[in-house]
Every structure is written in C-alpha cells, then in structure tokens.
C-alpha cells in the first residue's frame, strides 16, 4: 500500500491573496492522486467562515487534477462568498506540487 505524504505550497495568484495549501495524498503525488486531507490556509476572505471548513471536507476523496472544479462546486453547494482566492489558484498550486513531486 502506498504511503501518504503531506505536500505544501505557498504562493499567490495574480490579484489573489497569499495561499498556503497543504495536501495529503499517496506518495508520490500525481494528477490522479486522491486528496486524503487538505488545509487551504491564507490571507483570503470567505463567508460564512465555518462553511469553508465544510468545503475543505468536501474536497477529501476528490482527485487532485479536478481540485478547481470541485472547489467551484463546493462554493455553490455551501453558499460561500470567497474573495482573494480563485479555483485557478488551487489548480496552479497542485500543478506545482505535482511537477515538483518529492523533490
């Protein structure tokens, strides 16, 4: 059975706030890896704030490659308003994680 690892990313999309993403998946991470745990931290705004915690839970079990799609679905599902963080920021962050792998 593949071991799990927590991958981290710190960065900022154009016009967005700072994003600190922590993603736990099987090791090594690929685009097809399944999100086992996730923490989307940073300087952004979202309300209701506690619904964002639910959105993170919702992303668990989803494939890494589709994180932006499921994030957008989750925003609608949990009736969230998010400022300073775009689905593209998450997609770009996981692309960096995948490209860097275990480096």
């Amino acid at each position: 059975m593949a071991q799990s690892k927590t991958y981290t990313f710190t960065g900022k999309g154009k016009g967005s706030k700072l994003l600190r993403l922590k993603l736990t998946t099987e090791q090594p991470i690929t685009k097809d890896s399944i999100i086992q745990d996730i923490a989307i931290n940073g300087d952004f705004f979202a309300h209701p704030e506690d619904a964002f915690d639910e959105l993170e839970q919702y992303l668990i079990g989803k494939p890494v490659r589709d994180i932006g799609f499921w994030f957008t679905k989750g925003i609608d599902l949990f009736k969230l308003t998010v400022y300073g963080l775009l689905p593209e920021d998450l997609t770009a962050a996981v692309e960096v994680m995948v490209s860097q792998g275990d480096c």
Partner: protein
C-alpha cells in the same frame, strides 16, 4: 450610530467585544456601532483562515509578551502595537452596506480615508482591503457577514517598527508579488512616519471619529457597552477567543 471608545484591552477581550457587538446589533438590541480601541499588551491577530504556526513565531511572541488571537474575519496576520483599531457593525440593509463586498469595503473605508484627511494625509483605497499612502500600506481591514450584519474592523498605524513586526510575523516573499516593492519592510508606513512627528492615540482617535462623522448620515452618539454585551464578551473570551482550541485551529 452608537460610538464606543473602549481604550486599551487584551487581544482576547477586544475580539470578544467585537463579536458581542455583532450579536447585539443583529438582535436589534443596540444601534449600529462604531468602536475605537487599542491593544494592551501588544498582540498579533491572525486571520480566520490562517495557521498560527505558519504565520507567527510563537517563541518570539512569548519572549516579548505578545498575545496571539484568531479573528473571526479573514485576511492576514497583523501586529497590533502603536495603532488605533476601529470596528463597525451595521445591518446588511444599512446604506453603507452593499451586496458587493468590494463596494462595501470601499464605502465603509471612506470613513477611514476621511480620518487620514483630518490629519492632512491623502489616503486611497487599495482593493481588496487596504488603505495606502504613497503606495505603502497604512491600514489593513477585514470584513465578515453574519446574522444579517456586517462587521468590519481594521488597523490604523500610528507608528510602526518593521523590524519587530517582521521578527514576530513569518511573512513569505511571495506576498510581495505584484506589489513592486523589493523589501517587505518597505511595504508599510504610519501616521508618524508620514507626518514626521509623534501623535497621540487620543488625537488620532479624535480625527477618525471626525472622519466617520463626515461619512455618516446619522449622528454619532457616544455610548457604552451594555450589561448584556459585557456578559456575552466575558463568555466569548472564556469559551472562544482565550482558548487554545480556537487559536490553534487550522494548524
């Protein structure tokens, strides 16, 4: 609108009072409220979506007797030292509240811009949530919406010690992206630096009260926290803002 000047208090108490006011305005027990306050001891507040370990040097804070508290609002970590902080709570139906978040920041922050103007400083709104003078940040702000109300609070830097601030905060260089500033310490300024002279908390507070008074259509009436608000703030301090469980969320 009710005006509160609550002086200097701990980080835990300050955040508890802001939330207690939010709840009581939402229940129509008190008028929409504008509050000004300071922080003693000095403190760091982190945004709701931040992890304390990622943002703050806890050992340095311990050495320097700096409290750390998580806000109910998003945004970044802030070192609260020589500053005036304001909070405003209004119903979402208030004329300053817009459905569009950026517009509501802009309309409320006009009071802060007016306050700088009272001091002879020309400030401007820098979306999403900052106020800048000469391209440097002099006020950071954060907003949330709960129970049909908006709570917005923000800092107004009276003086700033970048060395201390950036010893306590772990600010990654990525944060500067798109800001055309080489050194992160060059990103902030203060009323004292801009005026070239020291100014008191009280005189700055007076200027910002006048600044908001110019913005508001209704009079600002000095008041005090109600018995219910004080009691609720005590409970929030004990069960939420003063607890490890709350402050260590999102580790």
């Amino acid at each position: 609108m009710r005006l509160l000047t609550t002086g200097f208090n701990s980080a835990y108490w300050n955040m508890s009072v802001d939330e207690a006011i939010l709840e009581t305005v939402a229940s129509n027990a008190v008028e929409p409220t504008l509050r000004f306050y300071g922080w003693q001891p000095h403190a760091i507040s982190i945004g709701y979506f931040q992890g304390i370990e990622e943002e703050v040097d806890r050992e340095a804070c311990k050495r320097m007797d700096i409290d750390i508290v998580r806000r109910i609002t998003g945004g970044g970590a802030v070192f609260h030292a020589d500053e005036l902080t304001y909070s405003i709570v209004i119903p979402e139906t208030h004329y300053l509240a817009c459905h569009d978040i950026l517009k509501s920041y802009e309309s409320i922050l006009q009071g802060v811009i007016n306050g700088f103007n009272e001091l002879g400083l020309q400030a401007e709104f820098a979306p999403i949530n900052d106020i800048i003078i000469n391209n440097k940040k002099v006020s950071g702000n954060a907003q949330t919406r709960k129970y049909g109300c908006i709570l917005q609070h923000g800092t107004i830097l009276i003086s700033v010690e970048p060395e201390t601030m950036f010893t306590l905060l772990k600010v990654p260089n990525e944060k500067l992206k798109g800001k055309l500033i080489a050194d992160i310490k060059e990103r902030v300024t203060s009323i004292r630096a801009l005026l070239g002279t020291s100014v008191s908390f009280e005189s700055v507070q007076k200027s910002f009260i006048q600044g908001f008074a110019r913005l508001l259509k209704e009079p600002l009436i000095e008041g005090s926290l109600t018995h219910e608000e004080l009691e609720r703030a005590r409970i929030l301090q004990e069960t939420k803002f003063g607890t490890e469980a709350w402050n260590n969320k999102r580790l």
